[in-house]
């Protein structure tokens, strides 16, 4: 019981620490303005270079979705709406989630490992010793870059979802794409574009947080990476559900 209380206390303290860190590292981008090059370089290496894997996985995610959905829809005689169903799914859920998960695996893990090894190699202390704030220098540009680039990646992912679905769809192509356009209602698009901002921000802040808090040498780096990835996944699915509820409350079903 005592052990449980201790653990609970640790978790609460950790959450407080993380909350302070995430808001501080974001706000530092405004109080100590970012240079354009800082954001662009990070957006390129963290975001644009992730595009190929995102397109690849997005394609197959859309494809497998259509494979079973068209059978289901046919049973209700609603197969003609396939494009629309897959469109709404891609815009609201599949696109943002595929991007978030790929970014967690490719970028979140890399950030945690990079900052973690900088931490144990005293490079983070060296930044401090050279008169800078490591959070501003290391976390802030990554947080802003990933937050701003992930909606862009999501747009491409949604397209990949739709193309993947179209490849196996047994409805008329014209009808598929016509129906897919119907997904472009503001209530779907706003949800689909808002979520990636939140996911990008969460992934970057969580990864930077665990990276910069790394301790205990090389083993600590491994720990930081796996904690960052697990925490990101949990936060992505939980916040996705919460945002889903909020958008439904705003716009109805």
């Amino acid at each position: 019981m005592n052990g449980f209380l201790k653990k609970a206390r640790q978790v609460v303290l950790g959450l407080g620490d993380f909350a302070t860190f995430s808001f501080r590292s974001t706000a530092l981008g405004i109080t100590h303005p970012l240079r354009l090059s800082e954001v662009v370089e990070n957006a390129y290496t963290l975001g644009i270079q992730s595009l190929p894997v995102i397109l690849f996985t997005g394609f197959f995610a859309g494809l497998s979705n259509v494979l079973f959905l068209q059978g289901e829809l046919e049973q209700y005689g609603a197969k003609i709406t396939l494009g629309r169903v897959i469109g709404v799914t891609a815009v609201r859920e599949l696109g943002p989630l595929v991007v978030a998960l790929m970014l967690t695996g490719r970028v979140g893990a890399a950030i945690a490992a990079e900052l973690g090894s900088m931490k144990i190699g005293n490079q983070v202390d060296a930044i401090t010793a050279l008169g800078q704030d490591p959070e501003r220098k290391l976390a802030t540009p990554r947080v802003w870059a990933l937050t701003l680039i992930s909606p862009v990646l999501t747009v491409f992912c949604v397209l990949a979802n739709l193309v993947g679905g179209w490849v196996v769809a047994t409805v008329d192509s014209g009808m598929y794409w016509y129906q897919a356009q119907m997904a472009l209602y503001w209530r779907h698009v706003s949800s689909g574009l808002f979520k990636p901002f939140v996911f990008g921000w969460l992934i970057a802040t969580v990864a930077c947080y665990f990276g910069l808090r790394t301790e205990n040498g090389v083993r600590g780096v491994g720990n930081a990476v796996s904690r960052a990835v697990v925490t990101c996944c949990i936060l992505i699915f939980v916040s996705n559900a919460l945002m889903g509820l909020i958008f439904i409350a705003l716009y109805g079903l």
Partner: protein, 254 residues
């Protein structure tokens, strides 16, 4: 002037420094000797404000830095040069970018200053004998080279205080000697106060004005190089072997 007055520090419940007192005047080098884990690096980290003392005072030019606010500490750090134990070079930057880091990050960015910064970087690398490494990446360097680059990275902004954490470990004797000469030149011509941590007794004698012998976080003895020279010749050897040094005299701690 750097000064510790009765400083205590612990990591969690584990005491690391106990009642540490010493001072380093301008144009003086203090050599800290002590076994692994005796708290040498901890002293340097306290001076940089990377960690905070539990009690006692740390004074820089008479000002108590334990009372400093964040912004004051940031300004103070710009007057301190630190050579970390393993160099702590930024491995995503080239050697040249590492050495020029301070200048680039504190206002000398852009084409206007490009030539100026590069000249200064070359000059610094020449000083540590590594001019040819300008465009190399840190992971292409040996441990000793990294430490010399780290020294250049600190010297470039002409700090008033230099903190060297085992800068000569892993260097060949000739390079060791030239690095020690550099430390002495910097002290003399730039009126720098330095703290020099090392395990190498030859280097220690080469640079030291004062000695601080540290054992398990306590000051075992401190005094001038002259005073230590008058002790029996095997004092330092016996110190490193962990023997009780009775009748050390000087300012031996109780």
């Amino acid at each position: 002037m750097l000064e510790f007055r009765n400083v205590d520090f612990s990591y969690g419940r584990q005491p690391v420094l106990k009642d540490v007192t010493f001072s380093v005047a301008k144009r003086e080098t203090l050599v800290i000797l002590g076994g692994s884990g005796s708290g040498k690096s901890t002293i340097l980290r306290l001076l940089l404000g990377l960690i905070e003392a539990d009690s006692g005072n740390i004074l820089v030019d008479g000002q108590d830095i334990t009372q400093y606010r964040h912004a004051e500490m940031v300004e103070l750090r710009k007057k301190m040069g630190m050579v970390f134990q393993e160099g702590a070079l930024f491995d995503s930057l080239t050697v040249g970018e590492n050495v020029g880091y301070f200048l680039l990050e504190h206002g000398f960015r852009g084409r206007k200053h490009g030539v100026e910064v590069e000249e200064k970087v070359r000059e610094m690398l020449k000083l540590v004998g590594l001019e040819h490494t300008l465009d190399m990446m840190p992971d292409e360097l040996s441990g000793g080279m990294r430490r010399r680059v780290a020294t250049a990275r600190s010297l470039i902004y002409e700090p008033e205080f230099m903190l060297y954490d085992e800068p000569t470990t892993g260097l060949d004797p000739a390079t060791c000697e030239s690095l020690c000469d550099l430390v002495n030149d910097v002290k003399r011509y730039r009126a720098v106060s330095s703290i020099f941590v090392t395990h190498n007794l030859d280097d220690a004698w080469r640079v030291a004005d004062h000695f601080l012998l540290l054992r398990q976080g306590r000051v075992l003895w401190s005094g001038t190089a002259g005073e230590l020279r008058e002790r029996p010749e095997d004092t330092l050897r016996r110190f490193f072997q962990g023997e009780v040094l009775e009748g050390l005299g000087g300012r031996q701690a109780p």
